[in-house]
Symmetry: D2
Subunit: 289 residues, 4 copies
Amino acid sequence: MAPRSTKDTAILLIDCPDRKGLVAAIGEFLYRHNANILHADQHQDPERNVFLMRVEWDLAGFDIELADFPTHFGPLAERYGMRWKLERSDRPHRLALFVSKYDHCLADLLYRHQSGELACEIALVVANHPDASRWADFHGVPFHHVPVEATGKDAAEQKQLDLLAANGVDLVILARYMQVLSPRFVAAYPQRIINVHHSFLPAFSGAKPYHRAYERGVKLIGATSHYVTDELDEGPIIEQAVVRVSHRDTLDDLLEKGRDMEKAVLSRAVRWHIDHRILVYGRKTVVFD
Amino acid sequence: MAPRSTKDTAILLIDCPDRKGLVAAIGEFLYRHNANILHADQHQDPERNVFLMRVEWDLAGFDIELADFPTHFGPLAERYGMRWKLERSDRPHRLALFVSKYDHCLADLLYRHQSGELACEIALVVANHPDASRWADFHGVPFHHVPVEATGKDAAEQKQLDLLAANGVDLVILARYMQVLSPRFVAAYPQRIINVHHSFLPAFSGAKPYHRAYERGVKLIGATSHYVTDELDEGPIIEQAVVRVSHRDTLDDLLEKGRDMEKAVLSRAVRWHIDHRILVYGRKTVVFD
Amino acid sequence: MAPRSTKDTAILLIDCPDRKGLVAAIGEFLYRHNANILHADQHQDPERNVFLMRVEWDLAGFDIELADFPTHFGPLAERYGMRWKLERSDRPHRLALFVSKYDHCLADLLYRHQSGELACEIALVVANHPDASRWADFHGVPFHHVPVEATGKDAAEQKQLDLLAANGVDLVILARYMQVLSPRFVAAYPQRIINVHHSFLPAFSGAKPYHRAYERGVKLIGATSHYVTDELDEGPIIEQAVVRVSHRDTLDDLLEKGRDMEKAVLSRAVRWHIDHRILVYGRKTVVFD
Amino acid sequence: MAPRSTKDTAILLIDCPDRKGLVAAIGEFLYRHNANILHADQHQDPERNVFLMRVEWDLAGFDIELADFPTHFGPLAERYGMRWKLERSDRPHRLALFVSKYDHCLADLLYRHQSGELACEIALVVANHPDASRWADFHGVPFHHVPVEATGKDAAEQKQLDLLAANGVDLVILARYMQVLSPRFVAAYPQRIINVHHSFLPAFSGAKPYHRAYERGVKLIGATSHYVTDELDEGPIIEQAVVRVSHRDTLDDLLEKGRDMEKAVLSRAVRWHIDHRILVYGRKTVVFD
């Protein structure tokens, strides 16, 4: 994985039809404006004729004010039909961590944030159980208990959305949050809600995946992190991992082994998203590592 | 994994309700008859109250003729309600390898057999394409081309069953054999037909799993070896493996990476079966390694 | 992995020359005293003619007071030349966690203890840096700051040994503790000090393993948990893990990836030790899983 | 992994000091000559200020004759101080496979070549034991038995070098070839001799690695493919893999499990080399996947 620069950098993410001259045009644009490129990665999908690129450069010496970047880059983007985004390392993502009762992913993400692995701000923890508050308190992160009752789901979601807006959140992490979000909620944060599902998707989508894995007698169990869409467990997959199990493992052992995988795949997804390494196209992700 | 003895050994496989005194009774029986135990492994499933055991001993000094074993062991087995099987290392399994067009699993199994990894006899290769004959010829294994036409499937299966019977086959390996076996065929070899499916079951059961994995954008692809039952891809799983893929992998890359996994999970399943390490209970397997 | 029983159980660990009748004798002894065996596992090493066994039974109904066990089992043990240990699930290990500046293994072990994964008591945290106190405080574990100066190492060790004795500690975990223990200290806790080394031993033993792995250009980095002996990084290995790295990984990335492995191999070693699953023989361990 | 094009392509490999404008200059050069870029990958090592690039383009439409490429590209290369190589997909590598008694890697490479995984020509098999001839014969590859006696090593190497020259070989694969090559031989094929070592280097370099791994009681064993240099087992590492072992594995089991890893790491190294994906810098490799 490329290092996270300690410098102020800009990251340009591009998605467009593949065409001759793209690399030259982008390279020339950046060179002309005195960009010192630190990392560049690209992917071409010949089947769909798609070109995807991530390029990161040092802002020292770059001769365009980032506020004016659209003006300068716009004509080039238009010529090649690009969808593009400019991200800045000095404007880190602001995250909300949603959690229910299981706190292993929450504790793991908070630890990684504290240790400097995750270059983001954790704006708040939102939970439908009160227990997680001790972790939020320990790490000095505001905690909001928003109970979700069967009859008051809309009201609870509205309260959550208000909290997100009030706190300038731009990335929602479902850290074993056991509620299904409404289409309205999902639509408010397109490709900005990351969930961890405790199975190797598409196997055992839906409820109680470890129980079903145990009953089926699989020899490996898995976990999957993905962007949330309106279809349950069907969003673009970001990361997956598996671990070996045997007849000696009880259902409790599966749950225990699974927790370590859930932490791994969720924390990697968060890291890749906040480092602007993920591009979604179709139902898939490209992760520039 | 326990070593395959070069001595003549007997292997006793037991499956019964768990009860006090089982280990003592079996141990005492073997000791009384002067068995030199080389390996013993057992598993207790407290949920279903099942006791499963595999014990292997050196036949040198054992004071019962194996032909008389049922007479001696029968009363004990009855007392504890055991299902049991006695296997002998000097009576190796006789295998039929079924294959279609893809020959990587066939070539792999034949190589492992030649190199001494697989302590069995390969009685014949049965194929619905003629191409595999070169591998059978190279390894000196009889080859039978049995074309399977849409309209003549019953006749083809009968021909296959006749070949198996004529050759004393007791284990059928579907080494990427692209035909679904009829219930009649399956019933003739219960828990003695091993298939390799080119996905991480239960994900992508059925046709074209790599294509579907590619379209879904999974980050790991898998392969599964399992006993064949009447339900397609639903038999007890013996072994599974996965390999990491990324956006850089084309569909062809998935197929190529998949081949290595298919060889791995199928050859392990064959080895464990012929070494009498697998016990099936419910829909699951116990593999005594 | 076998489930940790919620019942009160006894665990017998045996190590002796392999001989006919061992399994029968042990099984008969337990049956005669009405033991309900929950798990039994054994290993025979034909090369060294060694027999190793772990057997766990439910104490309900067992007709020997555990205080009297040596009297009853002694004659049998003597007949077969057994080294043996009896452990009890109701007398959990008491641990001391030693830590320096890096706190990821400490935080991980404390979390796993709190979540019920580790069936032990954590008696105290001993650190030669003050920073770790926040984690001990959060989890309500006594914290002792014992600075280790170059000139006062003996005094510091004596203070540590006094703390261990005063707190009834029987297992010492070096959770990235950056000091080498003296032979006197090691001798006081034979096979009861577990260390994590941040390389795939025997590669990169000694100082700065990640730096050396980075310079050598390896494609996998590893971590190892082992019992501490007088020879640095040479004690019996309990667990190892590796993770893939590439040219895209900086030295910082190696350290970050390494932390996850260190947590994994150390926490597994701790769990296996406190569940009495590890037998040391020669320079090796047998882990009954 | 990027797909191997069925088109005629050119691959440019570049290694130079990192500098602003490099990407723009190379992109502009290729665009000006109407190259349709299929894949591009690059790596920047900020520590050593090194820029490494691999770019592959479709030759259809490219307006420079490849014979004239140096004339056109030379000035640009000089301006940036590039070391560079141009490879052509229509001029595949010609390989010699060196083998002793163990034939698993040989059989594996020949199979992969036949199945289309390896886009190269296998010019000959050279062996210091006669047994491997059956595999060469089966695949229709010329076989040369060159015995290596303790007293006649120089003569044997001269004979091997003559064979390589006569057959236009540009890549030598040591497929478990059990002889150490002389510095003279190594110097004749710099970064063009690939070896597989049966351990996880740098652990257990030298002789009998599985025996030493077995004695040390490691929990994972490995294999490593690397370029051969004058220092035994010290050349730049291309690929590594490990597999889990336990106390149940005998030394024979280690050898058996090891064979599968040896095949995996060697065949991947061969594939990456012949697809021009490997750049060596310092003691390390960059593998553009």
